[in-house]
């Protein structure tokens, strides 16, 4: 379990990071918490001749909240999110999701930026960010740009980020109303067999708007516009939830793996989404 040799860099600002990425191109990768990259390097499935550690880049740390506008720096860990009372009040779905990622030791190290940037379909933050319609902030040699989380994922490990760019933050407008992140996993630390992020706004006893995204049921997270639309205008009764589940099942494309065959995953996805909608509606 010894990775191939590499040169280690720990720049103190983003300019230094971008310069190293320019200089070394494909041979360089940034590392945050490292809990996806280090295992891949140990297995020699990833070879990284130049490892650029972001830990000293202070501008990537910190959570800022202005009203309902939330910005989370790329180096904020899952533990930081769980441990942030104000974020817990403004956007409790972040904490609910973070508590379902991996285990305590991993959550001290695992970052929001890494979870969002990696493009692993098993990661939980991408689906959540699509549910929240979050914006992903990138910086590269040509300056900064923003990409909607719903446009960010192209395929497994393939995202809108260019090789020379670094993800610096995510931001979103925290929704009022009910929320839930529901995840089925075989054991603590496993990726989801199926997971669902749901937010629901209620007005006059009916669903005013709803947003639904699914994790690990395709090679990218799946924001199911049709599933959310199926709830809108209803009282979130059993028939509405059934319609939302049917719409979601049309949008996902799970593959068979050690978590089960396709039929099982679709079955679990339906149950998980039903639970998530029910909990979000109760809280709305």
């Amino acid at each position: 379990m010894i990775p191939a040799p590499f040169d280690y860099h720990r720049p103190s600002d983003l300019k230094g990071v971008l310069a190293l990425l320019q200089e070394h191109g494909d041979e360089a990768r940034v590392i945050a918490g490292g809990h996806s990259l280090i295992p891949m390097m140990k297995l020699r499935m990833a070879e990284v001749p130049h490892l650029i550690d972001l830990q000293s880049i202070d501008s990537l740390k910190g959570i800022s909240i202005a009203g309902t506008k939330v910005t989370i720096g790329a180096l904020v860990t899952q533990h930081d999110i769980i441990d942030h009372p104000e974020l817990g009040r403004v956007a409790p779905i972040l904490k609910e999701t973070s508590l379902q990622i991996a285990d305590p030791q991993v959550r001290y190290m695992g970052t929001v930026g890494g979870n969002v940037a990696n493009g692993d379909p098993g990661n939980d933050m991408p689906g959540l960010m699509q549910c929240l319609d979050a914006t992903i902030h990138l910086i590269g040699p040509n300056g900064t740009r923003e990409v909607a989380a719903r446009d960010y994922y192209e395929a497994a490990y393939m995202t809108a980020r260019d090789d020379g760019e670094v993800l610096t933050a995510i931001s979103f407008d925290a929704p009022a109303g009910g929320y839930a992140y529901e995840k089925q996993k075989r054991k603590i630390g496993d990726y989801a067999t199926a997971a669902a992020a749901v937010t629901i706004q209620k007005a006059g006893g009916k669903v005013a708007s709803a947003s639904i995204a699914m994790t690990n049921l395709s090679d990218t997270p799946v924001w199911s516009e049709a599933a959310g639309a199926a709830l809108e205008g209803t009282t979130c009764d059993a028939a509405a939830i059934k319609a939302a589940v049917a719409a979601m099942l049309d949008d996902i494309d799970p593959t068979e793996d050690n978590r089960g065959p396709v039929a099982f995953k679709r079955h679990v996805a339906g149950i998980i989404l039903t639970r998530a909608i029910t909990r979000a509606w109760d809280r709305a």
Binding site: P3, Y8, I31, D103, P104, Q105, Y108, M109
Partner: protein, 164 residues
């Protein structure tokens, strides 16, 4: 390529300086370079928690950190938590409540539990189970591990109250 780096590492209050390849994993630095063999290698794949140490105030798995990342860090291992002559409350509690069978996972368990109780001095049983979820016991002795941690928490709280 792969030049050795100058590393500074404080372990259990003692400063160490040495040259190492950046790819050296912290667990090997501790065990093979510094002969601090309390943290164990169980799975070496970030799953089992036997290698848990406290690094800059966080419980981390020492098998999933390069020494280059840990450069400048302050590390506490089980050796820094208690000694045979002066056992930590958690160590006494594990002995008292049979919180170990083969003992292989115990250093990681106690190191993690010490951080858990620092953050949450009065946990419920459920909070202990959730907070210890990154540590596996392949003897499956979880019942007594949880019991040991809860008993240690009570004892530490009683001692704190008595001191106040």
């Amino acid at each position: 390529m792969s030049n050795k780096m100058h590393i500074n590492l404080t372990v259990n209050g003692e400063a160490h300086e040495f040259l190492a390849e950046p790819r050296e994993l912290l667990i090997y630095t501790l065990r093979e370079r510094l002969n601090i063999t309390g943290p164990h290698i169980g799975c070496e794949t970030s799953h089992c928690g036997a290698c848990t140490v406290t690094l800059n105030g966080k419980s981390v798995k020492a098998c999933t950190m390069f020494i280059a990342q840990a450069n400048g860090a302050d590390v506490t291992t089980i050796e820094g938590i208690g000694s045979p002559d002066n056992l930590h409350v958690l160590q006494k509690s594990f002995r008292e409540h049979h919180g170990l069978q083969c003992g292989y996972c115990t250093p990681g368990m106690i190191t993690r539990a010490s951080k858990l109780l620092e953050e949450n001095p009065n946990p419920t049983e459920e909070e202990v189970r959730f907070g210890m979820a990154g540590n596996m016991c392949r003897c499956t002795g979880y019942q007594n591990i949880v019991k040991s941690i809860l008993a240690a928490a009570s004892e530490m709280n009683a001692a704190k109250e008595a001191a106040e």
